[in-house]
């Protein structure tokens, strides 16, 4: 696996790749943590509009340290700023945007993604304090639900699986997974490989994936700049 660690994309690079698929004017929700990084790599000339569950549309970059307004935060409770054209609304209106299918894309992290599109990303099932936040709403709301994740767990197990073993966040909801090794679509209950790192063979990638990787046409090269 050390070989994989040498070639695999960094989180920043995964976020960069996910950002390339976001269109100008798209309404986007980025999950707390790693997915928030996607906003840094918006394509030139593409202005996405970011939604946060706690009632802001079109928030912008973090303020300078010391300039925080703690009534102007995102769902991760980090201070943000506003872009021109921003708006505030209450939580029911915010989730009307989510549940009502008004977001173009939600990008979330994952513990596991199944070939059926099932997602597990809220509970390790190991006890402790459960906490779900807005994840279960987002997976059934956005027009496109994408996941960004390392291809493997820290222990080296596949995160792309035939069936999730952890408590589900949603059923049949994920349509694309950006991993540290590949871009995989979910279609009709199958993983369909779209892009892979040139440095890894299909067979090696399949061996690191917990369900069959299907292909159609040519598999593209996953090429990402140094970041």
């Amino acid at each position: 696996m050390t070989q994989i660690d040498d070639i695999k994309l960094s989180n920043a690079q995964i976020a960069w790749r996910a950002a390339q698929d976001i269109d100008d004017g798209a309404y986007v929700n980025l999950g707390i943590g790693f997915p928030e990084m996607v906003a840094r790599y918006q394509r030139e000339g593409c202005q996405a509009i970011y939604h946060t569950e706690n009632g802001i549309l079109d928030f912008g970059a973090p303020p300078a340290p010391g300039e925080e307004d703690w009534d102007l935060i995102n769902a991760g409770k980090k201070a943000v700023t506003l872009n021109p054209g921003a708006s505030f609304f209450h939580h029911a209106d915010s989730f009307a945007m989510v549940r009502g299918g008004h977001l173009d894309v939600a990008i979330l992290g994952a513990y596991e993604v199944a070939e059926t599109g099932d997602l597990a990303n809220w509970s390790t099932g190991r006890g402790g304090v459960p906490a779900v936040g807005g994840a279960m709403d987002l997976v059934h709301g956005a027009k496109r639900v994408a996941v960004i994740t390392d291809h493997l767990t820290k222990k080296g197990d596949p995160k792309l699986v035939s069936k999730c073993s952890l408590p589900l966040t949603g059923v049949g909801c994920v349509t694309r997974v950006y991993t540290s090794l590949a871009v995989v679509d979910i279609e009709d209950g199958h993983f369909v490989l779209r892009e892979k790192l040139p440095a890894i063979s299909f067979d090696d990638l399949q061996a690191l994936t917990g369900a069959t990787l299907h292909t159609t046409d040519t598999v593209g090269d996953l090429i990402v700049p140094e970041l």
Partner: protein
């Protein structure tokens, strides 16, 4: 991103025969007269129109009905001061009517916009308007199950708008506008003043731009009530 539409004709030309259209307004208050009249110029037919009322006089929705564009009205109160366009065709069996209590109409539209396929309301329980609908008891009281209402298009009148589709309304002209913006696949809004993003205080935005597909500036828009007092006819 710029949602500006550059002519009324272009704005409504996308609406095909057979479309379901939500039209904002409560009586004449908030009625998007210019958008409706532009639609009459295109004359799509066999439309389903969702509005609180069913037109008044010979302009607006009443004129759509007179042009035989409307196959079905979904509304709470199809009686107005001069409702004859609707009344005549309804009594002749030429137009269908789905009558919905006003609060249920509003909530069904909101539900359509909010991704809620069904909800329970005490409204209409035990009346003929509840016939055929599931009834369930919660905490000892009976409620009627109502379904969401969605549309292919919404035509809405707002006051200020920006090019991202953020909107404010004028007084009680707000009525169904914010709900219909949420519940249609393609929401087209006429605004009295179109501004750049940032011109509307984020605290005062009533409809966030995510619910709007196109905005067109119509300065000094007509007020249905004023047109009717002048006995206007369209076209």
């Amino acid at each position: 991103m710029d949602k500006t539409l550059h002519s009324l004709a272009d704005a409504v030309s996308v609406i095909p025969d057979g479309a379901t259209i939500m039209i904002g307004g409560f009586g004449g208050s908030g009625a998007p007269i210019e958008l409706i009249h532009a639609l009459i110029d295109c004359r799509p037919r066999n439309l389903t129109v969702i509005n609180n009322n069913a037109g008044n006089g010979h302009i607006g929705i009443a004129a759509m009905i007179e042009q035989d564009m409307v196959a079905k009205m979904v509304c709470s109160f199809p009686r107005s001061k001069d409702p004859r366009a609707f009344t005549e065709r309804y009594l002749a069996g030429k137009i269908e009517l789905e009558i919905v209590p006003q609060g249920t109409l509003a909530e069904r539209i909101r539900a359509g916009g909010a991704g809620i396929p069904a909800f329970y309301t005490p409204t209409s329980f035990g009346t003929e308007l509840a016939e055929g609908k599931p009834v369930e008891k919660f905490e000892g009281r009976s409620y009627v199950q109502e379904r969401w209402l969605k549309a292919d298009f919404a035509l809405v009148k707002a006051e200020r708008g920006d090019t991202h589709g953020n909107l404010t309304y004028n007084k009680a002209g707000r009525n169904f506008g914010p709900l219909m913006c949420m519940a249609a696949k393609n929401t087209i809004v006429q605004v009295s003043e179109l501004t750049q993003p940032g011109a509307i205080d984020p605290e005062t935005v009533i409809t966030p731009g995510i619910f709007v597909n196109g905005v067109i500036e119509v300065q000094n828009p007509a007020q249905e009530e004023v047109l009717n007092l002048a006995e206007a006819v369209y076209p």
